[in-house]
């Protein structure tokens, strides 16, 4: 297997679904709020 094939195969293995990205983004936001980076989110 060539290097290109290996890199493409490993990149597709690590490709995350939209669902997973949304969960990760929400967790990150929750952690930032927990850490006090964002103290108040107005509505």
């Amino acid at each position: 297997m060539s290097e290109q094939v290996k890199s493409a195969a490993s990149s597709s293995r690590w490709k995350l679904s939209l669902d997973t990205w949304a969960v990760l983004a929400a967790f990150l936001a929750a952690l930032l709020i927990r850490a006090g980076v964002f103290k108040h989110i107005p509505w």
Binding site: S11, A26, I33, I41
Partner: protein
């Protein structure tokens, strides 16, 4: 190097380009959503100042109507389309963050009731839609797609099933168009029916979560009624979404048995692949909130962030609904979908009213 030819080249700049491409559309979603919020605040105040009788129209409806107006008049320019398509991302992130407003005990209590109702709804919807598909002589795979779309969770379920049963692109376009058109109608009819029947927030939220097909529309239909109804609609809809893998797997096995789809190898991997991960994210945040990982103010901040995410989603719901495009897909699948959806709505309304009397929630 023949084996490298068929593999697409990976360009390091691609993710950055993809990110830049979505910016205009995301800004459009934010502008429409924020305009909806301003309209809610100002139209009501203006009407009150001039002693007009004007119903209080929520930002949810303003955002959807503004999006619909743009989509069905000038259309969404190409520049914005990639960003508008991110509305699903905001929806799912919003649902995960909404988990902070649920205590685990509530989820277990309501989740238990809703799980039973969801199981009845899914079974009833699949049986009825399959019957209707046969009566209207739709293609069997088109019938399967419509049944899954109306029983489980709209567009995502149709796309997942399409791949698993190897249905035609045309069949999935028909089904998606029918489910989206009916979802748009539900947005306007469900709150009216709920108010007409004086449904409680809980009963209405359960009903919207059970009967409205797409997650975005179910969330919006709940939010158009009340905040409490929206919370419950999201919980019930997420329970329905969690069933997607099982239903798609059953259809995949059925069609593979007929020799018209590939056999499913590892069933556990198949279920995990189809399982909506945002449901797990929602549960994790809910567990953290239950065990006081977040302070009261932080829970408030998370809930507000979830509302902002939903604001972008509601703008996206309006923007991606184009009635002209839907009309092009033909009437028969739409008729089957419409008859099925009305029957499911009546059936689930009966279920919810019965459950409310039985369990007194």
């Amino acid at each position: 190097m023949a084996d490298a030819v068929s593999v697409p080249q990976v360009h390091p700049v691609q993710p950055m380009l993809r990110f830049v491409r979505v910016i205009p559309g995301v800004l459009l979603l934010a502008a429409i959503g924020y305009a909806g919020k301003l309209l809610e605040q100002n139209v009501g105040a203006y009407a009150k100042a001039h002693h007009w009788t004007f119903p209080n129209i929520e930002y949810v409806l303003w955002a959807i109507v503004l999006g619909l107006a743009i989509s069905n008049t000038v259309g969404v320019p190409e520049l914005f389309r990639a960003g508008v398509a991110t509305y699903e991302f905001w929806l799912k992130a919003g649902i995960v963050l909404l988990g902070s407003r649920f205590l685990l005990g509530d989820i277990l209590k309501l989740g238990g009731v809703s799980l039973v109702l969801v199981a009845i709804e899914i079974t009833g919807a699949i049986v009825f839609m399959t019957f209707l598909g046969r009566v209207f002589r739709l293609k069997p795979k088109l019938t399967s797609l419509l049944a899954v779309g109306s029983a489980v969770c709209g567009v995502s379920a149709i796309i997942a099933t399409k791949g698993a049963i190897e249905a035609d692109d045309e069949d999935s376009s028909f089904s998606i168009a029918a489910i989206l058109a009916l979802g748009a109608l539900a947005l306007f009819t469900f709150p009216l029916i709920g108010h007409f029947l004086h449904l409680s927030d809980r009963a209405y939220g359960l009903w919207a979560g059970l009967a409205v097909d797409n997650t975005a529309e179910a969330t919006a239909a709940g939010a158009l009624y009340s905040d409490a109804a929206a919370k419950l609609a999201v919980l019930v809809k997420s329970t329905r979404n969690a069933m997607i893998g099982f239903v798609v797997l059953a259809y995949a096995i059925y069609w593979a048995g007929k020799g018209q789809a590939q056999a499913v190898g590892n069933k556990a991997a198949f279920l995990w692949q189809k399982f909506p991960k945002f449901v797990l994210g929602f549960l994790v945040i809910s567990v953290l909130a239950t065990y006081h990982f977040f302070s009261k103010d932080q829970v408030g901040a998370l809930a507000n962030l979830s509302r902002w995410a939903f604001l972008l989603t509601f703008a996206g719901v309006g923007l991606r609904t184009n009635f002209k495009e839907m009309r092009k897909q033909g009437l028969r699948p739409f008729a089957v979908g419409a008859i099925g959806e009305v029957a499911i709505a009546v059936f689930t309304l009966g279920l919810v009213v019965g459950a409310e009397r039985l369990f007194g929630f």
